[in-house]
Symmetry: C2
Subunit: 340 residues, 2 copies
């Protein structure tokens, strides 16, 4: 079985986008506007249509089995509006994911967006995580380490600010993918520099904290191959040494995992060569940041399965770990849902 | 000849640090304080002592010939104080580099810090660049794309804000290394995440701009191996394609160069495998971010010459380009100073 641990619903029906636009207008007029969850009147057929020619088509063509599926990352927009805006938008977005998992139980497994919002604590996120895991059968969440959209003004991930949320994650036995949303800072291009910067930054926040002593069962997936981390693994090992931290494998490699959203063979070759195989989870992020065909190969840039198969050093057992085994370990509720 | 294009004066005499501390106190008391350039009374012997056991020792031990040398990057602190603070601090710092290049003309070649300051234009930087190049014989500068120390609130590098400075760079025939200073944002660790994020972000700003159509002779070095860029080269090629930009080699590989401050063999192997050899400049950033010995190899993490020599694909001609030839092309004034 091939599990793609990083897919977003980037082909949403227009009703969802229209709802979000109305939200933005309302909250622009009145910053205190209390947003509501309304019935978007999206039919099952409309949902089917939105994924049949996209995510499902690529699953079939590329031969992947399950996608761990969450709302569009760039759409989370935690910097927009107030707490009620974020909460209602999040509920709508997660509910659509739930409906897709019900329509396609053999294709999609849910991971939730969180109703984070600038200047608030994580209580609403805790409640929504509980709802999504316990009622909707979701197996994880996307946690945004920079709800400002590019000013990086939240406390680092080792700060006590985050601890109530981590407690809930551990209690529910779900991991978080660290994922920022779209940048609203003109210095950043969302998918070109902001995501990769946030990935790298999150890793360094973990390296400099005692997070995993306090939460030995906490698990994070850093997407996009870990940003700059594998390429600079020597730098990070050397910094851990200079900062008198334990070696990285002791400090965080039971807790931190990297996905394979790296869109060329040589990048994947480095990732699997540098990182322990147990820390690598297959992912493509299709239909996502990079949708074209690589003229150098004639294949989609984000068809990352090809790079895993194209690597010459991985054994069959290694590939099985990357494609399936590691995801089952990192997402225990996924393993339970799939059975043996 | 082996030219190390990225060295900072990280072993400054205590008088320099004390001067800076006084500056900070003065400007804390009075934000409008007009700082002064004073005589720090640092003797030539003190300067010699500060580098003999550090940069010069490593040059000898590792067998490198010249270091392109600039003030400590994390010390630039463009977010501190006002324009006069930044200007006087920059002049002091650059003057010490000049004195070192006079004491050790066969070891150090100067590159200047700039008196950038939040909320100001680049006129003072233009003047200081002129002074350093024309009077002090410097061959380049370090340009800070985020003077906030981690809020990324400057216009992107393709913005007209920067154009007067680029004009002066072209007129003087000097390149800039893109280099932020220390982060004052607790989300970032300066050398662990901030530098790498800024490197990646700068590259994406260049990718999305028409900078090099407007300035075909402008040259930038992105340090630390280009941040996340080579590891994600497929992503950047794919994004250029999606954004309808020209292929990256046409768009920017005549203008953008990457140094070899990547502190493990596999990282360097990726860099030289992915990037054209003509775009790679040897550098170690010693004595810098990572000063320890790698227990896996028994050698200093930042002894990057070993990784270049350890790579199995580079030809002798490739290595000569990386060690010397490319630096002569990117820093034409260096080539003139060195002769043939």
């Amino acid at each position: 079985m091939i599990i793609d641990c990083h897919g977003h619903y980037t082909t949403e029906p227009p009703q969802l986008k229209a709802y979000r636009e109305r939200q933005k207008q309302e909250v622009e007029k009145d910053p205190l506007h209390q947003a509501e969850t309304v019935d978007l009147k999206i039919t099952d057929d409309e949902l089917r249509e939105s994924v049949e020619g996209a995510q499902l088509k690529f699953q079939r063509e590329r031969g992947t089995d399950r996608t761990i599926f969450s709302p569009r990352a760039s759409g989370m927009g935690h910097h927009i509006g107030n707490a009620s805006t974020s909460l209602t938008w999040t509920i709508q977005s997660n509910n659509l994911i739930y409906r897709l998992t019900q329509l396609y139980p053999n294709n999609f497994i849910g991971v939730c967006q969180l109703p984070q919002s600038r200047g608030t604590d994580l209580q609403a996120s805790i409640s929504e995580l509980e709802r999504c895991v316990e009622q909707l059968g979701f197996v994880g969440c996307n946690l945004n380490p920079d709800t400002s959209g590019g000013s990086f003004d939240l406390p680092p991930l080792g700060d006590r600010y985050w601890y109530p949320f981590y407690e809930k994650m551990c209690e529910l036995r779900v991991p978080a993918m660290i994922h920022v949303s779209a940048a609203c800072n003109p210095a950043f291009h969302s998918t070109g520099s902001y995501y990769l910067s946030a990935d790298t930054t999150a890793f360094m926040q973990m390296l400099t904290s005692d997070l995993f002593s306090d939460f030995p069962d906490l698990k994070f997936i850093i997407p996009h191959g870990g940003g700059a981390v594998p390429f600079h693994w020597g730098r990070f090992r050397g910094l851990a040494d200079m900062l008198k931290r334990p070696p990285l494998d002791e400090l965080l490699l039971d807790n931190v995992f990297f996905d394979t959203c790296v869109y060329h063979q040589k990048g994947i070759d480095l990732l699997v060569d540098v990182m322990p195989i147990k820390n690598i989870l297959f992912a493509s992020e299709m239909v996502g940041a990079v949708r074209g065909i690589d003229p150098e190969t004639g294949h989609y840039f984000d068809d990352t399965k090809r790079y895993i198969l194209g690597n010459r050093k991985l054994s069959e057992a290694d590939r099985m770990q990357i494609f399936e085994g590691n995801a089952r370990r990192v997402y225990p509720r996924l393993a339970e849902a799939l059975g043996n």
